[in-house]
C-alpha cells in the first residue's frame, strides 16, 4: 500500500474544497474526502495484517524513502508499524466525525473545512514519518491551522486562547527542534549525520548527549500532550475552539505529543529515558491527580472535559515513563481511547451548546428528557471516561495500571496507586456533571421545545461510539496490533539497560 496516499488524499480534498462554491458543495467534498481517509485507514489495517500473515517481519511496513534534501541528509522516509496504524485509525475516525458535526458551519465554510483537511494531513504525515525532520515538518503543519480555527471560528476569549495555544505549542516545537538537532549532530552513520529514525535507533547516541537532549525532546512533545506544568493551553484552547476544532485538538493534536515522546524521545534516547523516568512519573502522576481535582471544581462543560483530558493524558505519560512492555502498550491504547472518547465528549457538548446556548452545568438540567439521543451520547462518553468495562477507557487504563505495577520500585508503586485513585475522582466529576446537566429536572422552560440530534450528528456519534465499543468489547485486536511495536521500543530500552 502506498502510504503517501494518506497525505495526498487530505491535500487533494483541501484543494478541491477551495474550488467549491457554497456550503453544500464544500461539506460534501469534505465528507467524501474524510470517508476516503477512513477507508484508507481501514484498508491499511487490513493490508498490514495480510502482510504480517505472509510472514513479513520487518519492523516497518510499506516503507518508502526519497531523498528530500541531500546536503543535510533529510529524507522523505515513511513507513508504519502497529502503533502508527492505531494512531492513523484514530485520526481518520476523528476527522470524519469532526466534518459531520460541522455540517451546518455557515461562516467562512470553505476556509474552515480547508483548515480541517490541512490539519489532518499534518497528523497523517506525522504518524507515518520515519525521518525526524519530516516528522517535525508535519508537526508544524498541524499547529498553524489550530491558531486560525480558534482565532476565527472560536468563542469567548478566542484571541487570547488562540495566541496562548499557538505560542505554547510553538515553544514546544522549538524545544523539540533543539532535541532533534542534538540527535542529528551526535549521530554518525557511515560518517554522516542522520535524521532517520530506524538508522538512529541502531546507533548509540553518546550518553551525555542523550542526557542533554532528551529533556528537550520529551518536554517539547510533552507540551502537546499537556504535560504538567505546561498544560495551561489545554483548558483555554479547548473551550474557545469550535466543536470540530476541540475534537481535533484533543483527539488528534494531543496524541502527536504522546506519539512523539514514544517514537522520538524514548525510542532514540533510551538511556536517558531510564535515567529520567522518575521525573517523568512524578510529573505524570501530578498531572493525573491534579487534573482530576481541578476538573472537579469546573463549572463549564468544556473546561470539565479539557481538565479531564489533562488527567487522562497523564496516563499516557505515566505508561511511557514506567518503561515496561505492558505499560507502553497501555499508553498507546490510552491515546487511541482518549482520542475517541474526548472527541465524542466534545461532540456531545457542542450539540448541547448549539441548542441551549450554554455550557454552564448549573444552568442545564433534564436534557435526557428532551434530547435523549444527545444526552445518552453524553452519558456514554462520561462512562467511557470513568473507565467502564465495555468501553475503551477501561481497557487502556487497566493495561497502564497492570504494566505500571510490574515496576517493583516503591516510589513507582505509590505513583501507580495514586493514578488508580484518580478513577474515583473521575467518577465524582463525571457523575456530578451528568447528574446535573442531563439528569435531574428541567430547570429552564426554553429547553422543553428543543430538538434532538439530526442525522449528521447521530452519524458522527455512532462512528465514534463504534470505535470505543470495538476496543472496549474486543480489545485483543488493538492490543495485538500495538504490542510488536512497543516490544521494539522496549527492546531498545532493554538494550540500553544492558549497555550500562
Amino acid at each position: 500500500m502506498n502510504l503517501s496516499l494518506l497525505i495526498l488524499v487530505p491535500l487533494l480534498t483541501a484543494v478541491a474544497i477551495l474550488l467549491c462554491n457554497g456550503l453544500k458543495q464544500v461539506r460534501s467534498v469534505a465528507l467524501l474526502g474524510s470517508a476516503v481517509q477512513l477507508l484508507l485507514a481501514l484498508g491499511l489495517l487490513y493490508t498490514y495484517h495480510q502482510e504480517r500473515e505472509t510472514g513479513n517481519t520487518a519492523q516497518m511496513l510499506f516503507e518508502f524513502n526519497y531523498t528530500w534534501f541531500a546536503n543535510l541528509n533529510i529524507n522523505y522516509h515513511i513507513g508504519v508499524d502497529g502503533i502508527s496504524i492505531a494512531m492513523i485509525l484514530l485520526t481518520s475516525f476523528v476527522v470524519i466525525s469532526g466534518v459531520l458535526v460541522s455540517w451546518s458551519m455557515e461562516m467562512l465554510n470553505k476556509e474552515f473545512f480547508f483548515l480541517l483537511m490541512f490539519l489532518s494531513m499534518g497528523a497523517y504525515g506525522f504518524f507515518i514519518s520515519l525521518d525526524v525532520f519530516t516528522l517535525f515538518f508535519f508537526l508544524e503543519v498541524a499547529v498553524i491551522p489550530k491558531f486560525l480555527l480558534i482565532g476565527i471560528w472560536g468563542s469567548g476569549k478566542k484571541e487570547y486562547s488562540a495566541m496562548k495555544l499557538a505560542l505554547m505549542l510553538m515553544g514546544g516545537s522549538a524545544l523539540v527542534f533543539v532535541g532533534l538537532c542534538g540527535l542529528y549532530f551526535n549521530s554518525s552513520i557511515n560518517g554522516a549525520h542522520s535524521f532517520d529514525i530506524l538508522a538512529l535507533s541502531k546507533t548509540h547516541i553518546p550518553l551525555n548527549a542523550q542526557m542533554l537532549f532528551f529533556p528537550f525532546a520529551f518536554i517539547g512533545f510533552g507540551i502537546f500532550t499537556a504535560l504538567f506544568p505546561f498544560h495551561t493551553w489545554v483548558p483555554d484552547g479547548h473551550s474557545s475552539a469550535p466543536t470540530a476544532a476541540s475534537m481535533f485538538l484533543a483527539g488528534i493534536s494531543m496524541k502527536l505529543g504522546g506519539y512523539g515522546c514514544l517514537r522520538v524521545a524514548v525510542y532514540l534516547m533510551p538511556d536517558a529515558a531510564h535515567a529520567y523516568s522518575g521525573i517523568i512519573i512524578l510529573l505524570s502522576t501530578i498531572a493525573i491527580i491534579y487534573g482530576a481535582f481541578a476538573t472537579m471544581m469546573q463549572t463549564d462543560l468544556k473546561y470539565i472535559n479539557a481538565y479531564s483530558s489533562i488527567s487522562h493524558c497523564g496516563f499516557v505519560i505515566l505508561g511511557i515513563g514506567m518503561l515496561t512492555p505492558t505499560s507502553i502498550t497501555g499508553a498507546v491504547l490510552q491515546m487511541v481511547s482518549h482520542g475517541l472518547m474526548t472527541a465524542l465528549f466534545f461532540a456531545a457538548i457542542g450539540m448541547i451548546y448549539t441548542r441551549t446556548h450554554t455550557r454552564i452545568v448549573a444552568q442545564l438540567g433534564g436534557l435526557l428528557k428532551v434530547m435523549p439521543f444527545i444526552a445518552s451520547v453524553f452519558i456514554i462518553s462520561g462512562l467511557c471516561s470513568l473507565g467502564l468495562p465495555g468501553f475503551s477507557g477501561f481497557v487502556a487504563e487497566m493495561t497502564v495500571f497492570m504494566g505500571a505495577w510490574q515496576n517493583p520500585d516503591t516510589m513507582y508503586r505509590i505513583a501507580t496507586i495514586l493514578a488508580c485513585a484518580s478513577i474515583v475522582v473521575t467518577a465524582v466529576y463525571i457523575l456530578r456533571a451528568a447528574g446535573k446537566a442531563v439528569m435531574g429536572p428541567i430547570n429552564d422552560d426554553r429547553f422543553t421545545s428543543l430538538s434532538d440530534a439530526v442525522w449528521n450528528e447521530k452519524l458522527a456519534a455512532v462512528i465514534l461510539i463504534s470505535g470505543i465499543v470495538a476496543i472496549g468489547v474486543v480489545p485483543f485486536w488493538l492490543s495485538n496490533l500495538v504490542t510488536p511495536g512497543t516490544e521494539q521500543i522496549i527492546l531498545q530500552t532493554g538494550q540500553a539497560l544492558l549497555l550500562k
Binding site: K164, L167, M168, P229, H231, T232, Y290, F293, A294, M296, M297, Q298, P325, T326, G366, L368, K369, L383, L386, G387, L388, P389, G390, F394, V395, M398, T399, F401, M402, G403, W405, Q406, P408, T416, I417, C420, A421, I423, V424, A427, V428, L431, R432, G435, M439, G440, P441, I442, V474, P475, F476, S479, N480, T483
Partner: protein, 643 residues
C-alpha cells in the same frame, strides 16, 4: 447435549435483550418490551435450573467432590506472557447455585414489574437496564478470572447506578445513584489494588491457578508474597484485605454501607433484585470464591469476621428506629449480609471446620428468597398507599390478603422461626460461630432477637396497627403479575430450608452431615420469640407504649434514628475537606500560579520588546548617537583589554 452452548446462552440471552431493547425498544415496541424481556429471561432461568440440576445430581464426583467445569474460556486481553484477562464460564457448586438464584429472582422481578411498572413512558429502558444487570451479575458469578470478575463487578455497579437513577427527574434519585456508584467505586479501588498485588506475586489472574499457587507454602509465588511486607503486614494479607474492601463496598458493610439505604430511591422491584438478593451478596461471593486463600491467612479472615459481625449488629439497631419501610428492609439486608460475612470469617476449611462456609452460602440462598419477597411485598404496599412511611400505613391486611400472608411468611423466615427457610441457615451460622468465636456468637444471638423485633415492628405497622384511609378508587393488590411472584416466593420462603444444602455446597466439596440440634436451637428461637412478643406489645394496636420506650433510650434512640451520623461524617469529609482543602486550592493554584506564570512570561516578553523596539526608530540622529556611544564603549573595552 452441547452444554457449552447452553451455558453460554444463560448470560447471552439477557445481553441480547439489553441491546435489542436499549437500541430499539422505546421507539418500536415499548409496551411489549416487558414480555420480551420476561420470556428471554424465563428461558435463561430454565436453562440455569436444568444445568444446575444436571451438575449437582448427574455429574461425576471424584472422591465425593463435584469437579469444577470450565466449558468456555478464551483470552480477551493479554497483558504480559503470564497475565491475561480470560473470559470464561466456570461451573462449580458455588456458581451453579448463584446461577439459579440470580435468574430465578430476576425472573420474579421481571414478572412483578410487568404490573408494577405498567404505563411507564420508559418501560423498555427499564427492562433494558434490568437485562443489563442480570447479564452483568451472571457474568460476575461465572468468572474464571479475577479480572473478569472485576469487569463484571463494575458493570453491575453501573447497572445499579442506572436503575437507582431510573426516575432521573427526581434530584434525590440522581443523588442516590451517584452516591451508590461513587461509594462502591471507592471500594473497588481497594479491589483493583488488591488484584494488582495478588497478581504481581502469583503471576496469574486465573482464579484456579491463583488459589493453587497462593495456598501452596512451597511455591515460589507463595514465598514471594509472604516475604514482602508493608507496615509489618504481609503482602498476602494486604492483597486479601484490599480485595475484601471491594467486597465490603458492594455488600454494604460498615463503613461503606451508606449508599444502600439511599439506593431505595430506585423502583422497588429493582431494590428486591439488586439491593436485596443479588448484587449486595457479590461481596460475600467474592470472599467465598477466594476462600481457600482467605483460610490461609488468619489476619484477613479476622477482618472479615469482625466487619461482618459489627455491621450485622449496627444495621439491626438502626433498623429498629427507621420509619421508611424500604429503609428498614435495606438495613435488614445489611444486617443479614453481615451474618453471611462473619459466617465465612469463623469458618475453617474442610469437614466440620467448614460449617461456617456452608452456612454462609445457605443463608445467602434462603435470604435471596425471603428478602426479595419482603421487598416485592413492600412494593405492592407502596403501590397501593403511594408512600414509603409507616405512618401512612396500617390495617392493610384487609385490603391485600395475599401480600399480608406472604409478608408474614417472609418475616417469620428472616426471624429464624422453624420451619421457615431462614431458621435452618441461621441455625448453622450460629452453630459455626458458637464453636469458633464466642464474642461473635453473642453478637449474633442478640442481633437475631433484634431482627425478629424490627421485622415484626414493620409487619404490625403495615398490616395491623390503626386503619389507613385509602382515597377513592384503588386497585387493591395490583395485577395478577404482581401476585404470582409473591405466592411463588412465599412458598419458597417456606420450604427453601429443606434443600439438602450441606450435601451440595461445602468448603471442600465433600458432603457434610448436619443435623438440627434442638437444645442448641432453643436459645435463638427463644430470642426471636421474645423480639416478636415485644413487637406485638408495642405495635399491634394503636398505643403510645413505643414512644415511651423510645424516650427511655433517649440519646441512643436519636443517634440510631440518625443512623449514628455516619452520613454526616462522610459529608464532612467529602464536602468540607476534599472540596475545600484539595479541590478548591488545586483549581486556584492552576489558575493563579501556573497559568499566571505562563501569562507573565508572555507579558514580560511583550514588555521587553516594547522597550527595545524604540531602538529601531528610523531616526538618523538616534542611530548616530548609538553609533557614537558604541564606538566609545568599544574603545574603552579595547583600551582595557590591551593595556
Amino acid at each position: 447435549m452441547n452444554s457449552s452452548l447452553y451455558i453460554s446462552l444463560i448470560p447471552l440471552l439477557p445481553l441480547v435483550t439489553f441491546v435489542l431493547l436499549g437500541l430499539f425498544g422505546r421507539k418500536y415496541f415499548n409496551s411489549i418490551s416487558g414480555i420480551i424481556a420476561t420470556f428471554s429471561l424465563g428461558f435463561s432461568c430454565l436453562l440455569s435450573i436444568s444445568i444446575a440440576y444436571q451438575y449437582f445430581f448427574h455429574s461425576e464426583r471424584v472422591n465425593g467432590v463435584l469437579q469444577q467445569i470450565i466449558p468456555v474460556k478464551f483470552t480477551w486481553l493479554q497483558f504480559s506472557p503470564g497475565l491475561s484477562i480470560d473470559m470464561g464460564i466456570v461451573l462449580d457448586p458455588l456458581s451453579a447455585m448463584m446461577l439459579v438464584v440470580i435468574t430465578f429472582i430476576s425472573l420474579m422481578v421481571h414478572i412483578f414489574s410487568l404490573g408494577y411498572m405498567k404505563g411507564e413512558a420508559r418501560f423498555a429502558t427499564y427492562y433494558a437496564f434490568l437485562s443489563l444487570f442480570t447479564f452483568s451479575m451472571l457474568g460476575l458469578v461465572m468468572s474464571t478470572n479475577i479480572f473478569q470478575m472485576y469487569m463484571f463487578w463494575e458493570l453491575v455497579g453501573v447497572s445499579s447506578f442506572l436503575l437507582i437513577g431510573y426516575y432521573f427527574e427526581k434530584p434525590s434519585a440522581v443523588a442516590a445513584a451517584k452516591k451508590a456508584f461513587i461509594v462502591t467505586r471507592f471500594a473497588d479501588l481497594g479491589f483493583l489494588i488488591g488484584i494488582l498485588i495478588l497478581s504481581f506475586h502469583a503471576q496469574t489472574l486465573d482464579f484456579q491457578t491463583l488459589i493453587t499457587r497462593l495456598t501452596d507454602p512451597q511455591s515460589a509465588q507463595y514465598l514471594s508474597i509472604t516475604a514482602g511486607s508493608l507496615l509489618g503486614v504481609s503482602m498476602l494479607t494486604w492483597g486479601l484485605v484490599l480485595v475484601f474492601i471491594g467486597g465490603a463496598g458492594k455488600s454494604a458493610m460498615f463503613p461503606l454501607h451508606i449508599w444502600l439505604p439511599d439506593a431505595m430511591e430506585g423502583p422497588t422491584p429493582v431494590s428486591a433484585l439488586i439491593h436485596a438478593a443479588t448484587m449486595v451478596v457479590a461481596g460475600v461471593y467474592l470472599v467465598a470464591r477466594l476462600f481457600p486463600i482467605f483460610v490461609f491467612d488468619s489476619a484477613a479472615l479476622t477482618v472479615v469476621t469482625y466487619v461482618g459481625a459489627f455491621s450485622a449488629l449496627l444495621a439491626a439497631i438502626i433498623a429498629c428506629t427507621q420509619t421508611d419501610i424500604k429503609r428498614v428492609l435495606a438495613y435488614s439486608t445489611m444486617s443479614q449480609i453481615g451474618f453471611m460475612m462473619f459466617a465465612l470469617g469463623v469458618s475453617g476449611h474442610g469437614g466440620e471446620e467448614g460449617l461456617g462456609y456452608m452456612a454462609s452460602m445457605f443463608h445467602l440462598f434462603t435470604h435471596a428468597f425471603f428478602k426479595s419477597l419482603l421487598f416485592l411485598g413492600a412494593g405492592a404496599v407502596i403501590h397501593l398507599v403511594h408512600s414509603n412511611e409507616m405512618i401512612d400505613m396500617g390495617g392493610l391486611r384487609k385490603h391485600m390478603p395475599i401480600t399480608h400472608i406472604t409478608f408474614l411468611i417472609a418475616c417469620l423466615a428472616i426471624s429464624g422461626i422453624p420451619p421457615f427457610a431462614g431458621f435452618f441457615s441461621k441455625e448453622e451460622i450460629l452453630t459455626a460461630a458458637f464453636h469458633a468465636n464466642k464474642v461473635v456468637f453473642f453478637i449474633a444471638l442478640f442481633t437475631s432477637g433484634l431482627t425478629a423485633f424490627y421485622m415484626f415492628r414493620l409487619y404490625f405497622s403495615i398490616f395491623w396497627r390503626g386503619e389507613v384511609h385509602l382515597h377513592g378508587e384503588h386497585h387493591g393488590e395490583g395485577t395478577l403479575s404482581m401476585k404470582i411472584p409473591l405466592i411463588i416466593l412465599g412458598v419458597l420462603a417456606l420450604i427453601a430450608g429443606f434443600v439438602p444444602f450441606s450435601q451440595l455446597i461445602t468448603s471442600d466439596g465433600i458432603a457434610l452431615e448436619t443435623h438440627v440440634d434442638l437444645l442448641f436451637s432453643l436459645t435463638p428461637v427463644a430470642m426471636a420469640v421474645i423480639g416478636i412478643l415485644i413487637a406485638i406489645r408495642l405495635y399491634k394496636t394503636e398505643n403510645n407504649r413505643s414512644d415511651g420506650v423510645a424516650s427511655a433510650f433517649g440519646g441512643f434512640y436519636h443517634a440510631s434514628y440518625k443512623k449514628f451520623y455516619v452520613d454526616e461524617v462522610y459529608l464532612f469529609i467529602t464536602k468540607k475537606i476534599i472540596f475545600n482543602f484539595i479541590g478548591r486550592p488545586v483549581a486556584w493554584f492552576d489558575k493563579n500560579i501556573i497559568d499566571e506564570l505562563m501569562n507573565q512570561s508572555a507579558a514580560i516578553t511583550a514588555a521587553v520588546s516594547e522597550n527595545i523596539k524604540g531602538l529601531q526608530s528610523g531616526k538618523v540622529q538616534g542611530y548616530a548617537m548609538y553609533f557614537f556611544w558604541g564606538i566609545l564603549g568599544l574603545s574603552a573595552l579595547f583600551i582595557y583589554l590591551f593595556n
